[in-house]
């Protein structure tokens, strides 16, 4: 087949694809079951051109050596196959997007990336013959840059596709290069759903049931397919306003009426039901999450109704552990530096990196002084428990502890801290237990303490004398 015919057929196909993309863009409406069925093969077929294109590049490179000439000879065939599979995959992809109810920026980017890839592959294929000819002709020199362009386009498009399937943070979530900020942990779920629009942010205040319970549940389970970049059925669940607005079939939440709400109906169907959400065997909502949504809709689906109003709501399950502190793993060097300088130890509370650290001094409490606490600086936000009993710390050290914003348990028993020094702890919002046993701070002073978090304070006042019945 001559290059010209290849070019002609390829360009016609590509133009046809582009025409489809322009005239019938993915608009979030589901249609044509058969097209959807075929379209879903896109997710599988798409790996073919990826592998083949990379193979072409490798074969061309290795084939440059006379010993492996045969590879360069075969590369042309592989490129032809790659181009064909790219066009085929792109067609399937358009079917999936158009019929499967996809829409959004990410979908468009992915689609057009695919079309451009087809076009570039066709061009590369067309000039390849000149590239491998015994006397390389003018057009032949365009081949390497075209192939490179095809691969770059492919990588970018593939990455966009990956984000569509797995969510935008999938790749970077556990990256060691991600830079978290200690000391500021957003409670789970305030991310995503509430941050998306300022309006929703203002509406759903920190302690609202929606922000703390409902939004994180939707975030984890539903927002993957109903977000700014991918709004299946025209529905977005990533902000309160859009959730209430509903999708192409109208509202999905009917305040006060869980049974009449499409959202609740879909998540409570039997999992094998065609309409069950989340679809396609994705991990369903946990029973307590379903219950939260039911209670929340029943109570009026408010963005602001406080957590405390929902007294019958089940407690969060352990499967979704709360984030008590930022992941300590990026801070290993700083932890080591602190331990080396101070002699204190920072011990993980568990294998979940977001369960925080324990500042542990029991082996040598007398070596723990105010100077040690003064070095906490960069790791202060990682500490959830501070075991400082019997240490030499004083009120000066307590001022350093004020930086431990995620501190929940603080044991100061048998130390020289005073009631006045405890004022430094007033801002520790998460403090749950404060142990002042054997500090000489009397119960009257404890009663006058004004701590924001109102922790349980020890020693407990002795209510009754120990007398036998």
């Amino acid at each position: 087949m001559s290059s010209r015919i290849v070019l002609l057929i390829g360009l016609i196909l590509t133009l046809a694809l582009a025409a489809l993309g322009v005239s019938l863009p993915p608009d979030g409406v589901e249609r044509i079951a058969l097209a959807q069925f075929l379209g879903r093969f896109h997710v599988m077929a798409v790996h073919l051109p990826i592998g083949l294109l990379l193979a072409v590049a490798v074969m061309d490179l290795v084939g440059a050596s006379p010993r492996h000439r045969v590879l360069r000879e075969a590369a042309g065939f592989v490129l032809g196959f790659a181009t064909l599979s790219a066009v085929g995959s792109a067609l399937l992809g358009w079917l999936l997007a158009f019929a499967g109810g996809y829409s959004g920026k990410l979908v468009s980017q992915h689609m057009w990336g695919g079309f451009i890839l087809c076009a570039v592959s066709v061009l590369a294929l067309a000039v390849r013959r000149s590239f491998v000819a015994p006397e390389r002709r003018g057009l032949g020199y365009a081949y390497p840059p075209l192939l490179l362009l095809a691969i770059v386009t492919m990588l970018w498009t593939a990455h966009q596709g990956g984000k569509l399937v797995h969510g935008e943070t999938f790749l970077t979530q556990h990256s060691p290069f991600r830079t978290p900020s200690p000391g500021k942990v957003s409670s789970p779920g305030k991310k995503g759903a509430v941050n998306s629009t300022p309006a929703a942010n203002a509406a759903a205040t920190e302690a609202s049931f929606y922000a703390v319970r409902v939004a994180p549940a939707l975030d984890r389970t539903c927002v993957g397919c109903h977000n700014a970049n991918k709004h299946k059925a025209g529905l977005r669940l990533d902000t309160y306003a859009l959730l209430m607005q509903g999708g192409e079939n109208g509202p999905v939440v009917k305040a006060g009426d869980p049974a009449g709400s499409e959202l609740y109906h879909r998540i409570t169907l039997p999992p094998e039901d065609e309409d069950f959400m989340p679809s396609d065997g994705k991990k369903p909502l946990a029973p307590e999450e379903v219950k939260w949504i039911e209670l929340w809709i029943a109570a009026g689906a408010s963005a602001t109704a406080p957590l405390s109003q929902f007294t019958t709501a089940p407690a969060p399950h352990n499967d979704t552990p709360a984030i008590l502190a930022p992941d300590y793993q990026p801070y290993l060097a700083k932890i080591a530096a602190f331990e080396k300088q101070s002699g204190g130890r920072l011990v993980p509370r568990s294998r979940h990196p977001t369960d925080g650290l324990i500042l542990r001094t029991a082996s040598a409490p007398s070596q723990c002084t105010d100077a040690v606490l003064a070095q906490l600086g960069p790791v202060a936000g990682l500490i959830v428990e501070a075991e400082l009993a019997r240490t030499k710390i004083t009120d000066t050290g307590l001022r350093a502890l004020a930086a431990c914003k995620n501190l929940r348990v603080l044991d100061l028993s048998n130390t020289k801290v005073t009631a006045a020094g405890l004022a430094s702890l007033a801002g520790l919002e998460k403090l749950e237990r404060l142990n002042l046993t054997d500090t000489g701070i009397d119960s009257a002073a404890i009663a006058r303490l004004h701590l924001k978090a109102a922790p349980q304070i020890y020693p407990m006042p002795s209510a009754e004398g120990p007398e036998a019945n």
């Binding site: 011990v347 993980p348 542990r360 075991e387």
Partner: protein
């Protein structure tokens, strides 16, 4: 792959001067095990050779992040998930207290005094040799009066007027059952998860699983108590706090009931701490050489024990000095707490160990094996232990330690509803009974103020929520952030676990 000669290169310290394990006529598997140890030793590095392993480990713990030190050396000491309990205190009532006279109230029995136990209740169960030959099995109602206590309205025997005040803090299990009917297998089963000797005890598994809070004291301490009643004594042995097939450094360390708590801990006159240190360094060096030649992990445990003893020279005198205890302490535990070795003294010691970060303290009180003269025996034992038990829990609670300290009370099995030997109006005895017994727990994230499980009208069979010891163990480990299926150690071709091979479950209803 593990050619002896190439592996040989791994151990270059001796420069070929001594015969090595590779020269010995022993099975290849053992050599392989030695190779693994050897690799680990190289991982730790040579810098600490002169200090010995334990010394090296303690230095490592301070120069690399604890985060890494915990994971290093081949094992990860971080709990599998966030724990509720950091420490446990087990008040072990050896010999098995009668559930019928303490916690499992059966008022219906009063009218059945001296009637025969219905055959349908016993269900053909084999009895011990002590009562199997008895002509009849006469029902012996408890001689002790019961009263309801606390908001939970829990029935408690008059034997425990002090502990009764705490019922709203207790998690009472009335449906515990065991597989063994005699002391030795039963006491091994509840302490080690297996009826046969040689398995690690619960405290050893905890030490092995999550390590120490305080490196200056043993992770697992055993306190045996002076006996106020010596009529029904069963022997105790260190099998109950042994580390079994785990390294000996995870064994419980028993403090003595009288005199010096640890013998020979104080340096003799004229021996300074520096001299002692030099001596230990020397011994460690010799032990280290021995390990190189023979490759026995017990040698490393010995090094660790020398190091621990050295550290205890400073930590123990402060531990046992009760002079700084406030007057309120003696009000709580009672005056007997001043007499070393008593149960009361041990309870106070347990609190002092807990506040210093000892993971697991087990106090043994013996003589609960009341085959005969049960009422007299129980009165003496309750009198000795009730107030200190109350004192310990109250003290832990007011000092903020009960939140993360799990306190447990109980024996190895229950006792029969029928009398062993002659039944009198004011005297009886009870034989061993494995099918049900009562145990209680407090703190450590357990659900307070509840009773779990029920027995029938004769406290003979469990009728609701039976709890096997392996489920109890799984639940205890859970409170320490440990999944009993993941806490394993390879031995005899099996990933050994505290809960054994029969599936065990964590009882969520017991957890707060």
């Amino acid at each position: 792959m593990h050619d002896p000669h190439s592996s040989h290169d791994l151990c270059s310290d001796h420069g070929g001067e001594y015969p090595t394990v590779w020269d010995l006529p022993i099975p290849a598997g053992l050599k392989q095990q030695w190779l693994e140890l050897e690799t680990r030793r190289h991982f730790l590095g040579r810098a600490g050779k002169a200090l010995g392993w334990a010394g090296l480990a303690s230095i490592l713990g301070k120069s690399v992040p604890s985060v890494l030190a915990n994971v290093g050396g081949g094992r990860d000491l971080r709990p599998h998930f966030a724990p509720k309990a950091k420490r446990a205190i087990y008040l072990f009532m050896a010999g098995a207290p009668s559930q019928l006279d303490t916690w499992d109230y059966k008022p219906g029995l009063t009218s059945m005094f001296d009637q025969d136990l219905p055959e349908s209740v016993r269900g053909g169960q084999a009895l011990t040799g002590m009562t199997a030959g008895q002509a009849r099995l006469p029902i012996a109602p408890s001689l002790f009066k019961f009263k309801q206590h606390g908001k939970s309205g829990t029935w408690v025997s008059e034997l425990f007027p002090w502990t009764a005040k705490l019922v709203d803090d207790l998690t009472i299990v009335k449906s515990l059952h065991t597989d063994a009917i005699n002391h030795e297998p039963a006491i091994l089963l509840i302490n080690t998860g297996n009826m046969f000797a040689g398995k690690p005890s619960l405290g050893s598994w905890l030490s092995y699983g999550i390590g120490a809070i305080n490196e200056e004291l043993p992770t697992f301490v055993v306190l045996t108590s002076k006996m106020p009643w010596t009529k029904n004594v069963q022997a105790l042995s260190n099998r109950l706090w042994s580390s079994g097939f785990l390294s000996p450094e995870y064994s419980g360390i028993a403090l003595r009931a009288g005199g010096e708590p640890v013998l020979h801990l104080t340096d003799p006159k004229g021996v300074t701490s520096d001299v002692r240190r030099a001596m230990i360094d020397g011994v460690n060096d010799l032990n280290h050489q021995l390990f190189e030649r023979v490759g026995d992990p017990e040698t490393n445990a010995r090094i660790a024990q020398y190091e621990m003893a050295f550290r205890m020279q400073t930590s123990v005198p402060d531990l046992v000095d009760f002079s700084n205890e406030p007057a309120s302490t003696w009000d709580l535990y009672g005056p007997k707490a001043k007499e070393p070795g008593t149960f009361a003294y041990n309870c106070l010691m347990a609190r002092r160990l807990a506040e210093r970060g000892v993971r697991y303290t087990q106090i043994f009180l013996r003589s609960w094996d009341t085959h005969t003269t049960l009422p007299a025996g129980l009165r003496v034992l309750a009198e000795d232990s009730d107030r200190p038990t109350y004192g310990l829990i109250t003290d832990l609670k007011r000092r903020g330690l009960l939140d993360d300290t799990l306190v447990m009370w109980g024996g190895e099995f229950g006792r029969t509803v029928y009398s062993q030997g002659g039944l009198k109006v004011d005297d009886y005895g009870r034989d061993h009974h494995p099918r049900c017994f009562t145990m209680w727990m407090a703190g450590g994230g357990m659900k307070p103020g509840i009773s779990y499980g029920e027995t029938d009208d004769f406290s003979y069979n469990v009728v609701k929520n039976p709890l096997h010891i392996r489920d109890l163990h799984a639940t205890i480990l859970h409170q320490f952030g440990l999944d009993h299926n993941q806490l394993t150690s390879k031995f005899q071709g099996l990933d050994q676990k505290l809960t054994g091979v029969v599936p065990a479950k964590v009882i969520k209803d017991l957890i707060g």
